[in-house]
Assembly symmetry: C2
Homo-oligomer: 101 residues x 2
DNA sequence: AAAATTTGGTTTATAAAATAAACTACTTTA
DNA sequence: TAAAGTAGTTTATTTTATAAACCAAATTTT
């Protein structure tokens, strides 16, 4: 009986991105984080971060609330249950690529 | 003293690709593998596999030998020491994105 | 023995992603 | 009030991933 191939689990393309993964990684641990904080922690440019936050939001992986802190605009992000699940699944899928796990 | 950001290690873009990662993962364990085998194991199309093998070769992560098996052409791939190192570094970098490792 | 099909690929075209640069709108400081 | 800074968004460019089309040689079918 031959091997059926497909020993590898597919990697969620929404998470398989350096910046989006970093954002999710942060949000997993902090309850909520704003744009400025995420930008500082990831070292990303504003433009890139803005785009990637949008994608995570549209995927339902994070929740985004735009408001104000004093008079300055503030974008606050937090992870959703769906996002948590997706992250866990992604990490699990990754393991299928790493011999000896 | 504030956090300096950059808690995340950069992910080698050459390995941060589903198919290239799968190819490397296989080659880590098998001494050598030919095009047909890699195609079956990964489920990739020929075109995609051909392109990604090229990239890994030009990066020096794998060695590619084109010859014949009987009368049919055969492309044999094997991982290099450099490739092994890069893979290990990639996995290490990945860990920086996964809370609780 | 031609014609059709399969094998083992490569090349080219297209769609999707990542990223930076330019821009907007408002606020604070000089 | 002009200049500079803050917090982003939009747009344009480059890179990537992927599939589709192609090719040459080998094999099979008629």
């Amino acid at each position: 009986m031959p091997e059926n191939g497909k020993q590898f689990k597919p990697l969620d393309p929404l998470l398989h991105s350096e910046l989006r993964l970093a954002v999710m990684s942060i949000l997993l641990e902090v309850d909520s984080a704003d744009f400025v904080y995420l930008k500082a922690e990831t070292g990303a440019t504003s433009g890139n971060l803005s785009v990637q936050i949008d994608k995570l939001q549209h995927a339902g992986y994070i929740e985004v609330t735009k408001g104000f802190k004093g008079k300055m605009p503030q974008t606050v992000c937090s992870i959703t249950d769906c996002g948590r699940d997706a992250f866990a699944a992604y990490v699990d899928a990754l393991r299928s690529y790493i011999p000896g796990r």
